[in-house]
Symmetry: C2
Subunit: 342 residues, 2 copies
Amino acid sequence: MPYNELRKDYLLDRWVVIAKERSKRPTDLAKARPEAAKSAACPLCVGNEHMTPPAVLLLQSVDGEVKRGHDPPEGQRPTNWLVRTIPNMYPAFTHPQRSEDALKIFSTADFGYAIGLHEVVVESPIHEEGPADASLPQLELVIESYIDRFRALAAKSYVKYISIFRNYGLEAGASLSHAHSQIIATPMIPTMIKEEKQAADNYQKEQGRCVFCDIIEREVKTQRLIMENEDFAVIAPYASINPMEFWILPKRHAPNIGNLTPEEVKSLAATLKSSLKALKDLVNDPPYNYGIHQTIEEGYHWHLEVYPKLSTWAGFEKSTGVYINTVTPESAAEALKKAIKP
Amino acid sequence: MPYNELRKDYLLDRWVVIAKERSKRPTDLAKARPEAAKSAACPLCVGNEHMTPPAVLLLQSVDGEVKRGHDPPEGQRPTNWLVRTIPNMYPAFTHPQRSEDALKIFSTADFGYAIGLHEVVVESPIHEEGPADASLPQLELVIESYIDRFRALAAKSYVKYISIFRNYGLEAGASLSHAHSQIIATPMIPTMIKEEKQAADNYQKEQGRCVFCDIIEREVKTQRLIMENEDFAVIAPYASINPMEFWILPKRHAPNIGNLTPEEVKSLAATLKSSLKALKDLVNDPPYNYGIHQTIEEGYHWHLEVYPKLSTWAGFEKSTGVYINTVTPESAAEALKKAIKP
């Protein structure tokens, strides 16, 4: 009888039972996908630009070149965009309501409301062109939009963190099926990142090295490696809390995506597409979420975490903060590795 | 324009955006419930006792009296049970594999496997008789089973925590539709409880009082009170992370359910049934999870948290640990209060 393993996250005080006894093969997880209700008019499709607030960033194709711009405050809006970033119409965090709010040092009580920004990156003019299907040049433009908006938001005095994330599929929380990511700027460093940063600081003090650099160095030598290239390593983390979870880690130590080189942008697009395509092929196009972990300040090592939505967190997880994962990271890595197309 | 509020949990470093702009009325959340696939034979139904391991606890009706017992190791198993507690056939945590494991002080590395226990409480001989529908005497027997098993598991040297929880509905992770709860005994105190205990300890040192006693005292005077009686207060917590979330807090300070009086058992059954029935009536019988937070040692104040499954945690929540809740706790409390039948 194979015993279940109890594993702790590299950094977080977060435990997971790797449930070998209930173990499933990755292909056992495949199931039919529910369709998002098709609305008559998709507000993110070409021709419907007037249904959203004006874009703060437009990547347009002009005479065969990619040009940066934004929607004019009034009048006709361009329809020849490739990637379009707009304010979220139902923002979770809202921009400062009084000019003095933007100057204050963070304190929730002072503001009385959730200060920040919430944007939507429309990834493609093609309704359902997700990262696994988009062309590499298209995906590079999405990543360039992330970087551009990261820089713009990081410059604001009241912004302490910028969360860039994607919900793919209705079951993963994507209420609109048009390909899009979201960017939320918050007035505090979120719990999870704060804990990771603290653990990384402690490691740095004790070992004199970046803990993420060490994680990469060690994990690429294990069965948990999925793929690597000059710039990135893709691994199934040791204490994955989701079946088929994987992380994309940059080999160059940097706190955030703000200074990616053009070569790294190309490499990230290729890495992201390959790994998400492998997941799609392997488990019948499952819903997933991904999120970029990064900090504005130095002392962290950014990376992108992909969480396939193939199980349900239930009463145990929700009332303890301890997780049960029925796919071992080692078997997830093995299956994804095989499914990757060169 | 109503602004969103950013709130922190009473104890945890866990933030939630109370999203008033996206705000929904509780009744807007109602949706059709998917049915669990009906298997030919339910392993938890009367007559199928042989499909499970032998019960460790049976509450039986004998000559009009409730008797405690367990299944015989061999031979015919009783079918006249009212509540039946059995080992989980696919345990997340497994009992010690070597006799010396049970003696060791906890260390994952020493064991190499997830030591603990995992049991299932079959709440009723009637297939779908959940807590909102069961008779009060039946629900009292379920709570008595929780208490009995809590005491038995707490006495084991390798058990540091006992999680008692329930998944209701397929979308909340209930893979079997027969009414059942689960009990997991773990070899460590889970993250969430450890953090709560630490915050409660700090509060005790600073204020000389139990933080939960103070939470109850203050919250019953607010709009977040749903109902109260001599023994319990039911509130929608200030920083609820789930729409329609509520907690049942005992007024008598105690670390766990191990020493509930017979009157408190009756009172808890009535409180649990009333509040879950209100939720069922209000939002079209939604899926939910509940979990009892408690410690074996002194210095904590047990309570039961109910998490209706009416939204999806997506990329933002999963990559930051910050939550977005589209129903304010105040409107949740107001609606539940009205829906409670005396």
